[in-house]
Each structure stands twice: as structure tokens, then as C-alpha cells.
Symmetry: C2
Subunit: 402 residues, 2 copies
């Protein structure tokens, strides 16, 4: 584990190697070994520290994300047959069981595929669309691509009222729209680009940039609000005051990818500004790490888990900072990269059983020893390790990072 | 604060005095000073450490519970006009704004009473029924009593499907019923006794005892499960494995009140057995205090706040242990009382600004400095202080506790 911490002696190729070996020698093998349900298809995601299964339910977010991960590795890294088979294992299960008669994706299924929780959560659809787009490409499966496209179109149709009958807010009293969906659409639209055609893609990207960088971004603080009124006003309520620093930072690497694609250096610079402002606000100066939830006015957040340190928050931040530095060479960005790298690599990887812990308490101690659960699966860890690896590898030979 | 900790020299009348002065000199004055909304009626419950208001929304659970608290003090302790006026302040606001056309109680309202969150949560109705029953009695207001009774009847009608259209479970796949409603009905039925007539009361009490002590109670471990299948089977899912020790212990003092009323000493003894078994399972041997959520098989719970120490859990436990000891004189019960008393009184009361902290982390440090929020209001602290006071006062003169 000599590569765990950056030091003045490490260069970008050593960092690339650190991420690559974590991905290919630790994380992917962990999921290959422990997550396949050979009886009913699909994946187990509720895994103890040692990989043993403690719950058999199938959560659509996580089923779809694991399909995406293995198909993505097949498409972008190396066309290994076993990766395609693992993706297919989940894709077949999802296709057979995952959606209702209207094509809406359930939230969860029993182990055998029986629907368990209704399609109240549109992010199930988002991750299903991502999954089938990658898988269709990997497998050369046109029906999978059609399913991805159709699911994407359904998402746009449901966008104005994503929760449908499950929406608990009284209409019109205090209408708020959430940041999550525009944020995911940034990423999803790029994922589905080959299926959508450039006109839809460009229109959706314009909209996404506008929503993320102009509507949800507070121009004074450079913090991204999780909920705003449709007219752009800020609400002074728990939802209206909520900040989710990891969310904001993750969105910024989606935005930087758009900036790269459009060669829009100003957009990239602004994204880096937002990342750094979010870290200034969201970093725990007492114990280190990035808080999970905060209140933009400094009031107590309603989320009791607000001070916990989550794996995905820190991994998405490493991706954002590595990408931000690669695209801008800003030293403030690199200083933050080093700080977050040290915090993350010292605490999240499980040196004994492999893979990464998901949930640390404020002090950075393990809160739940699980490797996967209802929300953590085979997605953020491998995606971020892959992204950082590639970012540092592209650096190599062209510029020294340190 | 010389009465804060029990010691070999304290007797029951000193303990009674400790609870009495905390109630009447600290907690009730805090809510009297800070919570009244003189502009729109009702109460503010989102109070900072010093009592300043940080959010104006009106949550029906907490509006109703504060009406109940002040009406209860008026009815049971002393008919002070100012207490009745405070109860009326909330009762008028609730009556005017709190329910929809079908008599279902909203979850929350804006400061001015505009409905904000739909009636998805039947516990709003439970607390409204409690509130209007106490308030109607205090004010001699028959319309309030009718409203309480009608709300109670609505609860029974909705009992089989309390969430209505907001229910996210696919019907029949894995039907589970929750412990919360039968548990609250134990207490609510006794609260509403004068309105319901003895036949309904006795029938409902029989049912409640059966549900709580035979259906949800696991006879082997003496732990109470939060969810079970309608046929009584245990589900091996996150919900099916969930334990909420504070809930179980709170239910046991409801059961002991029923036991007292029915002079059923066996029921009381069994309730004490359950309390002690729950404490054995739910006590944090490393840092002290009672965990918020646990898994009956020792798996990671899905609630990230599982290891936090909550005010109501500890206060309800003090009530249950004091009552259990008063009714049985079991020394194991008293040993636990002392342990929980010391933990609770050392950590929850705010010696600087008054009232009690609500949310401590696993180590017993303040997690959120608020005095009230979306879930903590003027209810558990004063109710438990009142109950313990009376329990210890009734001891005084008859028997020494130490």
C-alpha cells in the first residue's frame, strides 16, 4: 500500500497506478466474488465487511449502477468477456423484472424479482437508462438501447412531477424543485448521446448548464442549493436551506465534462470556483472530511446524519479536483486535491477485507462496516477510481503533477 | 443543580423535587417564553439553543403535542389560566388550519396555517386526538371533545392502510405492519377513555395488549420488533429486522399503566422483563446510552443515525424504569434506573440556556444544539419530568427508594 498517500515524491503516473490497482486488483474483484446472485440473477448489494450477504433485496438504483459499471469497463477499458457477462447478468434480471407496465422502474424487488417498492423514485429510471445505454453498446443489443432511450424519454415526461401520486407537498403552497434531477440529466444526456442525436443533446446540455449554473447556483456564495422555488427564489425552510456539498461537487465534474466538450474554459473555471467554495463551506475544520448535509444559514439541518463522512462524497470530490486541476492547473485546486486525497485514502479503503467503507462518523471512524447496502453498491468507488486513474494517466508524460 | 445525580443519600422526595423543579422552573418556562406565535397563532417549535426561532413551519405532531402538554398540566397539576390560554392558542390554530375536508390531519402547515405537507402520516391524527381530548376537558369545550372522538374513529378506519395513496410498498409482496400504531393506540385509548365509553375502551385495550405483548414481542428474546407480517411471521428484511429500543420501552410504560388499571401484576412483571431485555440489547457498553436503531440479527441497520442518543429514548426509559420499580420493587429495575438517570441527567439538560438537548452523538456529545425542530417539541421532556415527579412523590412517605 505504498501508494496510498501523495507525497512530494509521487508523480502523476504513480497516482495513476494507485488508482488503477485499487480498481482492478481490489474493488472490481470484490464485487465479482461476492455480488452475483446465481440463483435468481441480478446482484446482491447488501454485503458485510467481508463480502458475505446480509440482505437479499434488489434495489433498482444499485442493480442498474452495477450493470453500468461492468458495461462501462468493457466499453472503455477492455472488452473482457467476463465483464460483459456480469453486466448481462444484471441487465437480464432488470429487463425481466425491473419495470412496471408503463415502463416506470420500481424502487426495489425481492431477491426473485417480485416487485417490492413502487416506482416512486425517478432516479431508478435515470440509472436504468444509464445502464441499458452502456450495456446495449457493450453487447451490441439494440433492444437494450431502445429501452435506454425510451426510459430517458419517460424521465423527461415525468420531470415536472417526478414523484407522481407519492408527492407529499400540497401543490402550490411552496413549490420547490430539486437539484438532483437536473444534475443527473447533465450526466445522463452525455451518457446517452449516441442514442439521442445531437439536437436533443445540445438542447438538453444548454438547459442543464442553465439550471445548474444559473438557477441552483447562488451567485454570491457560489454554493449550490438543493431546492429552489420555480421562479428562482430561495425558500427559508429546511428544504430551501439545504446544502449537499458532495452533490454540488459531483455536479461540477459533470459540468467540466460539458465544458471540455464545448471547449468552454470559462465554464470550467467557474466549476472549479464552485468546487473550492463548496469545500471551504463544507470541510470539517475540526476532524477533517466533508460534511454530508448543511444549512446555508448555519441552522441545524434536519438530517441527523449531517456530520457523517460518506465514501461517495469524498470520491466524487477527488474526481472533481483531479479533473479541475488537469483542466486549469490551478494550485488552489491541487492543494485541495492533496488534502482530500490524504483524508480519503487514510480512512475509506478497508485494508483487511478489501473494497471501501461507506459510512464514517464525524471523526472519521467506521460507523457501519458494510461494503454495500441499500444505497452503496458497485458504482461510486469503481467509477471514481477509473476516472482518477485516466485523468492522472493522461497527465503522465505531458506534465508532472508535483 | 445539586439534585442532578442520584446518590445513596437521595431519597424519593428529593428525586421528586428534582423532576418538579426541572419541569416548572426550567422546561415549561422555556416553551412559554419562546414558542408562542403571537402573529398567526400556534407554536414555533424550531428553536435554537437559546430559544430563538430558526424556522416558522408548523408541524402538526408538535402543535398537537404542545396543546396536550399544557392542557394536561392544567387538568392534572393545577388549573392555571395561563396554561389553559397557551393550550387554547394552539388548539384554535389547529382547529382552524390543521385538517383537510375529510378530517385528516396534515403533516405540516406554513406559519400562517396554509397546508404544506399532505396528511400522509396517521400519527398527526393520533396526536391531534390526544390534544383535543385533553384540551376539551380543560376548557370544558364539547366541540373539542367531539373532534377528538371523531379523529380517533378516523384513525381506526384508516388503521389497515394508514398511508393511503402514499404507501410505497407493492401490495401483497411482503406485507408488514408497524408497531407504532398499536403502541400509540395503547396510550391514546386511555387518554380518550372519558369520550369512548368503557366497552370500546376495554375492547381496544384487549387488542392493544394482544398486539404489543403477543404479536410484536418476540417471546425468545423479549425484544419488540418494529414490523412483522400480518400472519405474525418475522421478515428478514431491513424493516423486518428493525429494533427501536426507545419505542419498545415507551410502549412498556403504556402497558404498565394498563396493568395498573387492570390490577394485572403478571402483565406488569412481563413489561419490566421486556424493558430490561431491551436495555441489555440496546445499551451502548462502550460509551453508555441507548442506541436509536438496531438490527435484531446484528446486521448494519439502514438508519445512518442508528448510534445516536436521543432525548426521548432516555426520558421514556426513565419513566418506564421508575414506574417499573414503583410497581414491582425489583432491584434489577432500580439498578438500571440509576444507570440511565446518571447518563441522562449528565448529558441532556442544557445548564447554560435551559431545557434539554435532543440529539447527542454516540459519545454523548451534542450533535445538534437545537431545543426544538421538526420532531422535538414541548412534549417528551415535560411529560417524562411530570411522570417521574409524580411516581417519586407517590413513593414519598410510603417507602424509601434508596
Amino acid at each position: 500500500m505504498g501508494f496510498l498517500l501523495p507525497s512530494a515524491k509521487m508523480n502523476s503516473s504513480q497516482l495513476a497506478l494507485q488508482y488503477k490497482s485499487a480498481l482492478l486488483e481490489d474493488v472490481i474483484p470484490f464485487w465479482e466474488r461476492h455480488s452475483l446472485d446465481h440463483e435468481y440473477g441480478g446482484y446482491f448489494t447488501c454485503l458485510n465487511r467481508d463480502g458475505t450477504v446480509f440482505d437479499q433485496d434488489k434495489f433498482i438504483w444499485l442493480q442498474a449502477r452495477q450493470v453500468w459499471t461492468f458495461a462501462m469497463l468493457y466499453n472503455r477499458l477492455e472488452p473482457r468477456t467476463d465483464w460483459l457477462e456480469i453486466a448481462q447478468h444484471g441487465a437480464d434480471f432488470l429487463r425481466q423484472n425491473g419495470s412496471d407496465a408503463q415502463g416506470k422502474w420500481y424502487f426495489s424487488l425481492c431477491q426473485d424479482g417480485t416487485p417490492l417498492v413502487q416506482p416512486y423514485n425517478i432516479f431508478s429510471d435515470c440509472f436504468a437508462a444509464m445502464a441499458f445505454a452502456q450495456y446495449g453498446l457493450a453487447a451490441g443489443d439494440d433492444a437494450a438501447l431502445d429501452l435506454a432511450k425510451q426510459t430517458y424519454e419517460n424521465i423527461l415526461l415525468r420531470e415536472a412531477n417526478p414523484k407522481g401520486k407519492f408527492e407529499k407537498q400540497v401543490p402550490k403552497t411552496r413549490p420547490l424543485k430539486g437539484f438532483s434531477l437536473p444534475m443527473i440529466l447533465c450526466n445522463l444526456t452525455l451518457e446517452l448521446e449516441p442514442l439521442l442525436g445531437s439536437e436533443i443533446v445540445e438542447t438538453q446540455i444548454d438547459r442543464a448548464i442553465h439550471e445548474v449554473m444559473e438557477i441552483f447556483l447562488d451567485p454570491e456564495t457560489l454554493l449550490i442549493l438543493e431546492h429552489i422555488a420555480p421562479n428562482g427564489e430561495r425558500a427559508n425552510s429546511f428544504e430551501g436551506r439545504l446544502l449537499n456539498p458532495g452533490h454540488a461537487i459531483e455536479a461540477m465534474w459533470f459540468i467540466m465534462e460539458i465544458g471540455k466538450r464545448r471547449k468552454d474554459q470559462a465554464l470550467i473555471q467557474k466549476a472549479v470556483d464552485v468546487i473550492l467554495a463548496t469545500l471551504d463551506y463544507g470541510w470539517d475544520n475540526k476532524y477533517g472530511g466533508i460534511f454530508y448535509f448543511m444549512d446555508r444559514l448555519g441552522n441545524p439541518p434536519q438530517q441527523l446524519e449531517w456530520d457523517q463522512k460518506l465514501w461517495w462524497v469524498h470520491l466524487e470530490t477527488l474526481v472533481a479536483l483531479a479533473m479541475g486541476y488537469a483542466l486549469t492547473k490551478r494550485t488552489d485546486c491541487w492543494d485541495w486535491y492533496q488534502k482530500v486525497h490524504t483524508y480519503t485514502w487514510e480512512r475509506f479503503p478497508d485494508l483487511e477485507y478489501g473494497e471501501w467503507f461507506g459510512y464514517l462518523n464525524r471523526r472519521g471512524e467506521v460507523l457501519l462496516p458494510l461494503k454495500g447496502g441499500k444505497w452503496k453498491g458497485c458504482f461510486h468507488v469503481p467509477r471514481a477510481l477509473y476516472q482518477c486513474w485516466i485523468i492522472f494517466e493522461e497527465f503522465d508524460g505531458s506534465a508532472k503533477i508535483y
